[in-house]
Subunit: 145 residues, 4 copies
Amino acid sequence: MKKAPRIASLVNETRFKVRFSELDPMQIVWHGNYAKYFEDGREAFGLEFPGLSYADIQASGFGMPVVDMQVQFRAPLRVGDEAIVRTQFVNYPAAKICFDYEIRRPGGELVAEGSTMQVFVNPSGELELTSPQFFVEWKERWGVR
Amino acid sequence: MKKAPRIASLVNETRFKVRFSELDPMQIVWHGNYAKYFEDGREAFGLEFPGLSYADIQASGFGMPVVDMQVQFRAPLRVGDEAIVRTQFVNYPAAKICFDYEIRRPGGELVAEGSTMQVFVNPSGELELTSPQFFVEWKERWGVR
Amino acid sequence: MKKAPRIASLVNETRFKVRFSELDPMQIVWHGNYAKYFEDGREAFGLEFPGLSYADIQASGFGMPVVDMQVQFRAPLRVGDEAIVRTQFVNYPAAKICFDYEIRRPGGELVAEGSTMQVFVNPSGELELTSPQFFVEWKERWGVR
Amino acid sequence: MKKAPRIASLVNETRFKVRFSELDPMQIVWHGNYAKYFEDGREAFGLEFPGLSYADIQASGFGMPVVDMQVQFRAPLRVGDEAIVRTQFVNYPAAKICFDYEIRRPGGELVAEGSTMQVFVNPSGELELTSPQFFVEWKERWGVR
């Protein structure tokens, strides 16, 4: 996934604070919780660039399951820590939606990075091989081709 | 991680059942929960090949944070579904522990696959560049070199 | 909720094993996870006394949100511990479903106890003041009046 | 717990936003997640009235397990909803810490209410029957007797 064009302007940054319930017995954020932080990033992205939020997708009748997730953990987060998820749209011609993520402390230290790929499932539950109309329109609206 | 030797005999299989609380609004298992299934696989592996369970690692004084996780989601799981995590040790000479995972339905259908890499952190919280003694001994015990 | 008749025969017991991801930084099961164990108990109950599983309720078109939950925590659970959830139906004439729970170690030690109350929401999302037909039939089937 | 004196001034309010990963298949927040919202309330309380945050308690060497939790669910929360946890200290002479909670939408609608009780466990893991010094001092500092 490393050569596809990132669209410089299609980036969202959203801040979060680590909750006690997100810690594991080593007193650091349990690694599985980063899937949640990435998801928060996607949701914030979808609200900043309207048309891709969870509500929009539901309204379209399509599902967008995550089919691939990769995470590299660089430094631990602890209770009360604040961090910023940077979510960047990665453009592919195929019928899928890809994002790259970076999680950093407010001072800039990289905490984690990763990527997700989602595909489209139509209301009958079948994989869509071409991008649905709402996604084509979303791309046009935001100057992605 | 794809060329390292898998040790054919160092494989554990453990079965689980999907819980209601693991579902997302699409009525399928939320993708972030697979980190939990992989972790269950590692724990079952550590019990089958004693010396690598969470209790063993704690007793050693070392931490083993996950530094890389990759998941490919092939088919959804729904409430009440049973599935089997197959956890296979992947041997590297470096000071890290790697596993490959496959999650399948009892009938064999592939649901997800992935991998994790863990490193060693000594009791002072520093990254260990050589394998700690307990891991060297574990490898010897199970014929891994 | 303490005087309503418990139906001695309407009890399910289901066993579970504590997962690493359920621990909190004190190395014990995070207290919020008991809601999950109770839910597992309800689901196992619904499978033993068919007609009240999540699938049955979905098929009925009704929702059954939890409106009250009480938990008393008696002793901690740790990673790898096994425990048994005992879920007992508590009968009320009103349009609600109540359960009492006990979680015990295999040797009998009480770990937690509690109760939940659920109400019925019809497909339009409104609270039902009388028990829906599927619940009336379930009660008749199992000799509850 | 309903007659103990609430200390009018010892109240914290903290706001949160519902995450996608907190939803259940009914598209509402899974009821077990309210334990997390209450915990967030306690943590925010401990930061506003210093001496009771998780870091303070850890530093004291004591544990403060939750031994009782009660929740009444009044109205559902959905993805993206914002809500406010109001956490109020309830004073008891005994060696325990009790809080009452209300979760409301920004417009005032009550979403849930509940309470928790925590006890003190000393560094040897035994229940403390008298309040530890750090809690006595905290009470004095904030005018609670």
